[in-house]
């Protein structure tokens, strides 16, 4: 008799702990299928916009007489920097949504965005260093944007490292969201506290508003590349969120049913 009660109590506890939320399963499945359908379109647009941007950057835009051919780095440097900041905003939005709504999908999206954000933050720093060396004679300087971009890269890496070290996916999402939100507070402080007089940016070769060398074609090339990087980021994030859903939900019945139908 006591044994019966024990198992019954155990089963009850088990049921509460692993309560199946059917609406959450349905939304995960729907998002998985939607992401799979949208991903090729964004990949195609990323390739098309990137080709257009490269034609603009290397063929249409004339050489900047003052700075020389080195200024062609601008077509990945600025778009990469902007995209890394956009992606951080996107990541914080979804991480915060996961924290407040207590759903799983937003946290998965935030985790899917982080590696691509880190990639673009690194590309922005790398191309900036390669641009800076022949132009100003230094790879690195502690100016506001460089410090903020480096902090951004560390925040992305910290977010990913934190999630890797925490076994439980929900707790990993919560911890990552807190870190991402702390980053939102700290980035403007870093940006505004770095020395203003000591900067490589806003010089005549780079400034959007004052430079005589930065013509309409160059601005168009930069904007086209921003769109290309955003399309790429969406495509890659959609592909990655599909992997994350499959990995985390691999024991769910809908996953077995849905993946069986995949080509």
């Amino acid at each position: 008799m006591s044994r019966f009660f024990e198992t019954a109590a155990g089963a009850g506890r088990c049921d509460r702990a692993h309560r199946i939320d059917w609406s959450e399963h349905a939304s995960l499945r729907m998002f998985f299928l939607l992401a799979g359908r949208l991903r090729p379109w964004f990949s195609g647009m990323a390739v098309a916009w990137c080709l257009a941007g490269m034609v603009l950057g290397f063929v249409v835009v004339p050489v900047d007489g003052q700075a020389g051919e080195i200024s062609r780095v601008i077509f990945i440097h600025m778009p990469a920097a902007w995209t890394s900041v956009f992606l951080y905003v996107v990541m914080v939005f979804w991480a915060g949504a996961g924290l407040t709504l207590n759903r799983r999908l937003p946290g998965m999206i935030a985790s899917a965005v982080a590696p691509t954000g880190a990639l673009f933050a690194f590309v922005a720093l790398w191309t900036g260093a390669l641009w800076s060396k022949p132009t100003w004679g230094t790879w690195w300087i502690w100016d506001a944007r460089l410090a903020a971009e480096l902090a951004l890269l560390f925040l992305y890496c910290g977010f990913m490292a934190l999630q890797l070290t925490i076994e439980d996916a929900r707790r990993a999402d919560h911890a990552g969201a807190v870190l991402a939100l702390v980053g939102v507070v700290s980035l403007p402080i870093i940006y505004s506290s770095a020395p203003r007089w000591n900067t490589l940016h806003l010089g005549p070769a780079v400034s959007l508003t004052q430079s005589p060398g930065l013509g309409g074609e160059m601005l168009a090339g930069i904007i086209v590349m921003v769109i290309a990087f955003c399309m790429y980021s969406i495509a890659v994030s959609l592909a990655r969120v599909r992997c994350i859903i499959l990995e985390r939900e691999r024991h769910a019945e809908w996953v077995a049913d849905t993946t069986k139908a995949l080509p």
Binding site: R72, V73, I76, L119, W126, K133, A239
Partner: protein, 73 residues
Amino acid sequence: MGRGYDEGLAVSWGGWSEFLAMGGYALYVWGSYAVALGLIACEIVVLVLRKRNILKHLGRGSATVRHTTGGRG
């Protein structure tokens, strides 16, 4: 700023070697583009492998998933 700007509008390059030389900045310009392209290519390859891996193990059942996660860690 005026000279290069006016000349370059129609065709910017005299030939492939001039294009590759990037006005003496080849190492810096191509170093930037190569690293960006390389990282993007790596990200895509990693994603393709990740998806292939998870689909393979979903097809074989949960026993294999346990086995592989043990092997990876």
